[in-house]
């Protein structure tokens, strides 16, 4: 048994080291001297990157908070027309990757978009005759588009908090003769602050990591800069240096989020949370609540989804061929393999911590969890740099080179580094619900570790494993920058094909891969919600 534990610990250490290597590699570039390319970047675009990234962080943070919190507040505390439907429907924008919404909205509301064209035709004017036209292909457009699909992060965290954890606090406030606005202002918003910030931080991290939207809308950010240096100038060192600055940026964000959360979790005093009693809304209150929930659902999911279906119907015959089926299968396979691998490694790491419960095992878990906060482009560049260093060493030692970059191994490695934190969070929550006394009872019963794992832990943790599998699957299917950098030559996924078609101004044709991604993700999101309700 002791050997088994040691084996588990050793493999956990090996995985932690492997997973943290790209981060460490990137971090070292902070201290490496400047090249000519780098000096050029510093003098010309670095300030732009910093300003735009900050602007996006603030914009997405505010807009996702507004959309996510207002909808969570209404759905959690009130009953109104469609409130049950919105409970599920408001999560659906998760199924649409930011870049796909960008393609669709540009195709609809851009200068040559179909909706813009329709309105101009209606008034018999052309674009130059319009006194004011807001171009969606701008940084503000990017903020709007991203917020429409990232607000569910804030919605989900606040929804859980308001419905269960804070029910007694809110119900107590209602007894103090305060009106709805006073309860909202004096109690609900202050106690929800940690939940709002936690959700908004996740949305901001996603926005900062985005490549597809920024590239398509021509917004200069750190991530597009990393690509330009790597792809355009062929300089992995400079790309890594830029990535190291972005990583520092993200770490500051994490530290700020943790700092604000310190000592500020407001929970009911009871151990068992009781769901809050909802209030029925009537008259114009009911209509306003309906509209507030309908708008994000409409613009974040329904409208783009319907538009995709129309475009799909127009173009599928042109796009769906053997090549497309191959890349469709590639994407599914990549998603399934990654989800299986990541879920298995996360289970190993978290179970090791449960069994060993020592400080090093706890540190492993925390280190690995940092991966999710690091943008995909940074992880990709970190892996390329690391394999580059290994390759040079190998070349010196064996006079031969070995190729890992541009193989499926590199891509899977990238996904593990980037997404394992999601899986670990799932398992941590799952294991927290299994009392330690179950393990103890099994040990005293004389049952070995293997049987305890298979007969006790696995049946009790299977919902968390399923949730982890589905979430990773969705993330991998939607992932763009990391796949672009690390994929083998000529290896396409649905996401890459969608981007390529848009870059060639084939927005309508891009609906085929885009709708495929959305439908796969939507089915997965529904499966996930059903699993959450069952658990």
């Amino acid at each position: 048994m002791i050997n088994g534990l040691r084996g588990l610990k050793i493999s956990s250490v090996i995985f932690t080291l492997l997973i943290s290597i790209p981060m460490i590699t990137i971090f070292t570039y902070l201290f490496i001297g400047n090249t000519e390319n780098w000096n050029h970047v510093k003098e010309t675009v670095l300030l732009d990157y910093i300003f735009n990234t900050l602007y996006i962080m603030i914009g997405v943070g505010l807009l996702t908070t507004l959309l996510g919190f207002s909808t969570a507040y209404l759905v959690s505390l009130y009953r109104f027309t469609g409130s049950k439907f919105f409970d599920l429907a408001l999560v659906l924008p998760f199924a649409i990757p930011t870049y796909i919404l960008a393609f669709i909205y540009n195709g609809m509301f851009g200068i040559s978009g179909n909706v813009t064209g329709f309105i101009l035709d209606l008034f018999g004017k052309n674009i130059s005759e319009v006194p004011f036209f807001w171009d969606i292909q701008s940084i503000e457009g990017a903020i709007l588009v991203m917020s429409l699909v990232l607000y569910p992060y804030v919605y989900l965290v606040c929804r859980t908090y308001l419905s269960f954890e804070s029910s007694s606090i809110i119900e107590a406030a209602r007894t103090f003769n305060l009106n709805t606005w006073q309860v909202l202002k004096k109690v609900i918003i202050p106690i929800s602050r940690p939940a709002i910030i936690a959700g908004a931080t996740l949305a901001i991290m996603e926005a900062v990591s985005d490549y597809g939207t920024m590239d398509y809308f021509g917004v200069n950010t750190f991530v597009t800069g990393i690509f330009r240096l790597w792809e355009g100038m062929g300089s992995i060192e400079d790309a890594s240096k830029l990535a190291s600055i972005l990583m520092t940026f993200v770490f500051i964000l994490i530290i700020l989020e943790r700092f604000q959360r310190r000592n500020k979790t407001y929970k009911s005093s009871g151990k068992d949370f009781r769901p809050i009693t909802k209030i029925q809304l009537k008259g114009w209150h009911n209509n306003v609540a309906f509209i507030i929930c309908f708008l994000p659902f409409f613009f974040g999911f329904l409208l783009p989804f319907v538009q995709l279906i129309f475009w799909f119907a127009e173009s599928y015959e042109k796009i769906i061929d053997e090549d497309f089926l191959e890349l469709f299968l590639n994407t599914i396979k990549l998603g399934l393999i990654s989800a299986f691998l990541i879920t298995s490694i996360a289970l190993l790491v978290v179970y090791n911590f449960r069994l060993n419960k020592d400080k090093p095992s706890g540190t492993f878990v925390q280190v690995i969890k940092l991966g999710y906060s690091i943008p995909g482009a940074v992880v990709a560049v970190g892996i390329l740099s690391f394999f580059g260093i290994l390759n040079e060493l190998y070349l010196k030692l064996f006079d031969n080179s070995f190729l890992v970059s541009g193989t499926l191994i590199a891509i899977l490695f990238g996904y593990i580094v980037r997404f394992i934190a999601i899986s670990i969070n799932n398992f941590e929550a799952g294991f927290n619900r299994i009392p330690q006394s179950y393990d103890d009872a099994a040990a005293i019963s004389g049952v070995g570790n293997v049987k305890t794992f298979t007969k006790v832990i696995v049946p009790l943790i299977k919902n968390s494993a399923f949730a982890s599998f589905i979430v990773i699957f969705i993330e991998v299917i939607k992932e763009l920058p990391l796949t672009m950098v690390l994929r083998p030559f000529d290896y396409d996924t649905l996401a890459i094909r969608a981007l390529e078609l848009n870059e060639q101004a084939q927005t309508i044709e891009s609906a085929v891969p885009s709708l495929s991604i959305v439908v796969i993700a939507m089915i997965s999101v529904i499966l996930l919600i059903k699993n959450m309700k069952k658990a």
Partner: protein, 328 residues
């Protein structure tokens, strides 16, 4: 028999317990009593082998289990967890069978039937755990703990989740079970009534130490310290003024105490005239708080059957024999 010798344990350099010594004979029930977090459960976990890094020795029968690498399963202990630790995804039968892994299917089936009958849960055999009441769940937990015929039974707050009626019944039933099977049983609780009613011996733990370990009657009647006395029964500490009036000899490190049940009031005049601070009706009695007339700081608690005594000047009525001088 279980022997715990010079037992001590620390977590992260914080000393939790030191120099703990006690024995539990076969057929004997020992209760470890102390406030929450004093380390009682840690002793149980160490005996069971769930906590193996500790100082001192733990012997079960003739085998010193802590001096050799003897794992949980080889210690012949049964453990009843406070939350019962019944696996929610297995039914009653499967929970019990879980402990019988080493037996053949035929032997396993035979033993399950024996246990189901012994613990009167035959009709619940196929039920899921959440379909059982608290008392039934506890019986399943005990059946599982007894499945491998342990020599030692360890019980961590076993009555905490039961209502008062069920608690009394279960206590008696468990006591008989331990005696009939000649088990060495160690029970952990913070409830003194529970400890007094079920145990042969009691150990009081406070401030990292086992303050007193003795038979139930001895520890109740002859507590070694104020803490032990106060923990097991309600006592009044007599003020120095009362001590002088009663001409008692009490050293600096000692206290003169009297049980609340032995403290009475009278209307007959003596030197100990009292003043009423508070009184409340508690059904069978009045709970009264009084003090010596010019000694307001030191309160005396009294349970009064008849409150009419308070209508006239009243005085403390205690017999010198009921006063116990104990260490501070």
């Amino acid at each position: 028999m279980v022997s715990v010798n010079n037992f001590g344990i620390s977590f992260d350099d914080t000393l939790i317990l030191e120099n703990i010594n006690f024995d539990v004979n076969n057929g004997e029930i020992v209760t470890l009593l102390g406030q929450s977090g004093c380390g009682k459960t840690t002793i149980l976990r160490s005996i069971a082998g769930l906590q193996r890094e500790h100082e001192g020795n733990i012997c079960i029968g003739d085998v010193c289990v802590s001096s050799k690498e003897i794992f949980e399963k080889d210690r012949e202990v049964g453990y009843i967890f406070q939350d019962y630790a019944l696996f929610p995804h297995l039914n009653v039968e499967e929970n019990i069978a879980f402990a019988l892994d080493k037996l053949s299917n035929k032997e396993k089936e035979k033993r399950i039937v024996e246990l189901l009958e012994q613990f009167d849960i035959v009709s619940h055999r196929k039920k899921q755990i959440h379909q059982l009441s608290g008392g039934q769940q506890q019986r399943v937990a005990i059946a599982r703990a007894m499945a491998n015929n342990p020599k030692v039974l360890l019980l961590d707050e076993p009555f905490a989740n039961l209502d008062s009626m069920l608690r009394y019944k279960t206590k008696m039933w468990l006591k008989n079970l331990i005696k009939e099977n000649n088990l060495s049983a160690i029970l952990v609780t913070h409830d003194k009534k529970e400890a007094l009613s079920i145990s042969d011996k009691i150990g009081i733990i406070n401030d990292k130490k086992l303050l007193q370990f003795d038979t139930t009657t001895n520890i109740y009647n002859n507590p070694v310290s104020h803490y032990v006395a106060n923990f097991l029964s309600e006592i009044n500490v007599l003020s120095s003024k009362a001590v002088n009036i009663l001409s008692l000899t009490v050293k600096n490190d000692e206290l003169a105490t009297i049980k609340v049940d032995d403290t009475h009031l009278t209307n007959e005049i003596n030197n100990l005239e009292l003043k009423l601070i508070d009184s409340s009706f508690c059904g069978d009695f009045y709970e009264v708080i009084v003090c010596l007339k010019d000694d307001v700081e030191n309160q005396i608690h009294i349970k009064l059957k008849d409150a009419r005594v308070l209508l006239k000047p009243f005085y403390l009525d205690i017999s010198k024999e009921a006063i116990k001088v104990i260490k501070k």
